[in-house]
């Protein structure tokens, strides 16, 4: 059900697409109701209603659709992600996902910003990976309660430090002042040691690894880092 607040968030581009769709629909309905003779004028109007305007709607719809796939709301629209989204938006959570979601740079795109592939073909590869998620959801998790599936959900491949290093360059002064960072510099840069491992910063979504030893342990108890903006 579309509520009024969600309508208020529709972008100006979407309103253009919707206007095109409404005009095209009006042309088609008028043709179906009045059945005018198929002269050149009718065909020109139909070319607008069946060609130009729907194509504009589709193009803008693609842009908006792809943008939508980057939002937390999109990731959270599968019930299996409910707990992950709740944790990411929990102001009291000290997990990596929650800490990063509190910053404006990640905000309501935090799932995508952290999990996307940052390589040259990253956008396409990320979308392909997303199709994999859809497959797993439809074939396995769809009818399962989130509490039952939480222990089975796992990341497709280990989280790469490369993603963390898009922001944390590993060369800043504050970062280098941490003894563990200095000692593990090469391992961190090559991905031998994961930033999100037990004993370092811990799991990004610690609640989901409650059964694993040390899941709650992470070194982000620094009040400055934990509070966020």
């Amino acid at each position: 059900m579309v509520s009024l607040p969600s309508l208020m968030h529709v972008s100006p581009l979407s309103w253009i697409a919707l206007t095109c769709a409404l005009i095209a629909a009006l042309i088609m309905v008028l043709y179906l109701v009045y059945r005018p003779p198929l002269d050149a004028r009718t065909k020109a109007v139909l070319a607008l209603g069946l060609g130009v305007l729907p194509i504009m709607t589709a193009l803008i719809g693609n842009v908006e659709g792809l943008r939508a796939t980057e939002s937390q709301a999109f990731c959270g629209s599968c019930h299996t992600m409910d707990l992950h989204i709740a944790d990411a938006n929990d102001p009291d959570s000290l997990g990596l996902a929650a800490i990063h979601s509190r910053t404006k740079m990640f905000g309501d795109r935090s799932c995508y910003v952290c999990h996307k592939d940052h390589g040259m073909y990253g956008y396409a590869l990320t979308k392909l990976g997303g199709m994999g998620h859809v497959y797993y959801f439809l074939s396995d998790y769809m009818w399962e309660d989130v509490d039952a599936s939480i222990s089975r959900i796992h990341i497709a491949r280990p989280f790469r430090n490369e993603n963390c290093m898009q922001c944390h360059s590993t060369s800043g002064r504050l970062w280098s002042e941490v003894p563990d960072h200095r000692g593990l510099l090469e391992d961190l840069r090559t991905g031998q040691t994961s930033c999100a491992s037990v004993g370092c910063h811990g799991y990004a979504h610690p609640f989901s690894k409650a059964d694993e030893p040390g899941a709650e342990a992470h070194l982000l108890h620094d009040p400055v880092l934990s509070e966020g903006p």
Partner: protein, 89 residues
Amino acid sequence: MRRRIDEVLDTASRRRLLTAACVLGLIGLALMSWSLFDQGWIPVMMAMSIGQLVGTLSFALFVLVVIVDLRRATFRQSTPPEPRDLDDP
């Protein structure tokens, strides 16, 4: 195969084709518009797959009507201009 295509193009009803194109177009537009408001995975994926497939089919039917029209049209032969005698003042 070619004869079969010719037969379809010669006997196809333009009105039926356009009716089908309009109905499919309305379905496609509805799916695409839905995703502009509700950005969950179902509307977005429906719009970008089924919505666009149905919309493309609708446009293809319109193009088919144009092709049928062109095949049935009788074009008047253009007459070449009268040769002018260049010596004539």
